[in-house]
């Protein structure tokens, strides 16, 4: 499913002294099959943006009651926002938002705080139960839960009947992710899924994302503060700053201009730092900033020199 966003703006608590413009005229397209990164300084509107993608924050035009905002005299009314995910038009009142949420899975920041059921198995099956028409078949449900738990690297027989609150932080996180992917969404949106995990946990999360990206999950949108993660995994990344979209570029071009990112308060991946350090010593390395590619480029250069 292709995601098309045009002129998207959003203000929290509009028309009060507390109003915050969290998104300002964002236009971008995410193609099917992408592993799309969203980066930006804290408070730049990343979470607000991704919550639009499955209709948790709705466009005004899709709400039943619309508040009419009079345009100021003398200036043109802003162009109407467009938000489309595949065939779903999120600006339309008639869109079936539950069907949309079934196709677009969303993993929130600290998803372990959404666990509530008595057993892991019930919690993971929650989404399945909600999205199925009528009573779900218990055998199929168990099969799907087993599958989802095994994707996130947990053993069904060992864990299914435990209380989710007795697990470790990392395990809780995985159970929560399993609870989202159990319905096999075509698009998966993750808001900092690896925040607060140890390096091994982070790597495992990224691996599992690649596993599902290779099969039924066509598109992944991931918000991250970790530039190595972005450089290593993403096809393209969008950079946000104070609600505005700065650029959308593949990592190979994005991290070439390190100055722009550091000006926005962002880090650059380790490989980009190494390229800069080598450049200072007069060695030019051309690579796409993935570790493997970087190593290959350095080796090629070394081979060429000697």
């Amino acid at each position: 499913m292709r995601i098309v966003v045009e002129h998207l703006s959003y203000t929290y608590q509009p028309r009060t002294p507390f109003a915050v413009k969290a998104l300002d005229d964002v236009t971008l397209t995410i193609e099917e099959g992408e592993f799309f990164g969203v980066i930006g300084h804290t408070g730049s509107g990343k979470s607000t943006f991704v919550q639009h993608l499955n209709g948790l924050i709705r466009l005004p035009s899709s709400l039943k009651r619309q508040k009419k905002i009079k345009p100021k005299k003398g200036c043109l009314p802003p162009p109407p926002p467009v938000l489309k995910v595949g065939d779903f038009d999120l600006g339309d009142k008639k869109t079936d938002f539950r069907a949309l949420r079934k196709s677009v899975g969303m993993v929130f920041q600290y998803p372990e705080y959404q666990l509530f059921a008595e057993t892991v198995k019930e919690d993971v099956a929650f989404g399945l139960k909600n999205f199925s028409e009528g009573k779900p078949d218990p055998r199929q449900t168990e099969e799907a839960v087993r599958e989802a738990l095994s994707i996130v690297g947990l053993d069904y027989d060992e864990i299914a009947d435990k209380s989710p609150f007795d697990l470790s932080g990392g395990q809780k996180r995985r159970v929560a992710i399993a609870g989202v992917i159990v319905t096999r969404p075509e698009v998966l949106v993750l808001d900092e899924p690896a925040a607060g995990l140890d390096p091994l946990g982070k790597r495992e999360i990224m691996q599992l994302l690649h596993r599902i990206h290779g099969s039924w999950c066509k598109t992944i949108v991931i918000v991250s503060h970790d530039m190595d993660e972005i450089a290593e995994n993403c096809t393209r990344a969008a950079v946000f700053s104070e609600g505005k979209l700065v650029c959308v570029l593949p990592p190979s071009e994005l991290f070439r201009d390190a100055g722009r990112l550091t000006d926005l308060g962002l880090d650059i991946p380790l490989t980009a730092k190494l390229v800069l350090a080598l450049r200072e010593r007069g060695v030019e390395i051309d690579c796409n900033f993935r570790t493997e590619d970087f190593v290959a480029a350095v080796l090629a250069r070394k081979g060429g020199a000697s």
Partner: protein
């Protein structure tokens, strides 16, 4: 969810905002006394005039003020209808069993409605123009005499300010959890009442857990910063100024005014 009218601070820089919170609380008490002392419409008119002056000085948008009244609308209507129907009087327009509508009844319920509306506006004026922190500081300071009988005034004030501080946080948390469950297909809007109540379990359990977790963390953090040691000092000292003197004079004049009106003009009807 975020625009609960009652008890929300509206930031602005005005005469009323700058008054000492202790004085505002005392003023509110004086005002309530004045409303109850006022026995006729002239007294109420005086009260209303003072309130209009206060609202004008506070630079609150008029819509905000009316929103507060809207919150108490059911109570106001209920009071009006009950008194209209059950208050007996000499000039009866309509009657049926024990119900009757009389001139006295109409006047009396108008009198009650005006009183109620003034009360609601005045108390919301206090919360609109005073930050929760200033409010609890003010209450704590006013309750100081109770310390002599070993009443834990400070702890009470702290509990109040933490509770007030946590309301927006918990509301934000509720919104977050609700969104997370909605993303997993939870449906809070349709179904029979039993199902709807059950639909809230996936919100309530995580919310309670997170409230306990927060309480624990806050307790630890306070202990780590040596809370509960000796005497504490205030970051913001409360201080009376010329504004407070003016407001105090106004309050005194108001009370004197309604008392005089009561003595010379008597009761309504």
């Amino acid at each position: 969810m975020k625009d609960v009218a009652f008890g929300q601070y509206y930031p602005a820089d005005s005469f009323v905002h700058r008054l000492d919170p202790r004085l505002k609380i005392l003023f509110l008490i004086a005002y309530i006394v004045a409303i109850f002392v006022a026995s006729n419409f002239y007294g109420l008119a005086l009260c209303a005039a003072v309130l209009i002056l206060a609202v004008a000085l506070s630079r609150l948008p008029v819509g905000k003020v009316f929103r507060a009244v809207r919150g108490a609308l059911i109570l106001v209507i209920f009071t009006a209808v009950i008194n209209l129907l059950f208050h007996s009087g000499k000039t009866v327009y309509w009657s049926c069993g024990i119900l009757c509508i009389s001139k006295e009844g109409i006047l009396f319920s108008a009198y009650l409605v005006i009183r109620l509306v003034l009360l609601v506006i005045c108390s919301s004026l206090l919360t609109y123009t005073t930050t929760p922190v200033a409010l609890t500081d003010g209450i704590e300071s006013l309750l100081t005499p109770l310390k002599w009988i070993r009443f834990p005034v400070h702890a009470l004030a702290l509990i109040m300010s933490i509770a007030l501080r946590m309301i927006p946080t918990l509301m934000e948390e509720t919104e977050r959890i609700k969104n997370a469950q909605k993303a997993r297909g939870a449906n809070f809007e349709s179904g029979n009442p039993l199902r709807r109540v059950k639909a809230f379990i996936p919100i309530l359990v995580p919310l309670l857990l997170s409230a306990f977790r927060r309480a624990d963390e806050l307790g630890d953090a306070m202990e780590a910063r040596c809370y509960g040691g000796k005497k504490r000092v205030k970051y913001k000292k409360l201080r009376f100024s010329w504004r407070d003197l003016l407001a105090a004079i106004l309050a005194a004049a108001l009370i004197a005014g309604v008392v005089l009106l009561r003595v010379y003009l008597g009761e309504i009807v």
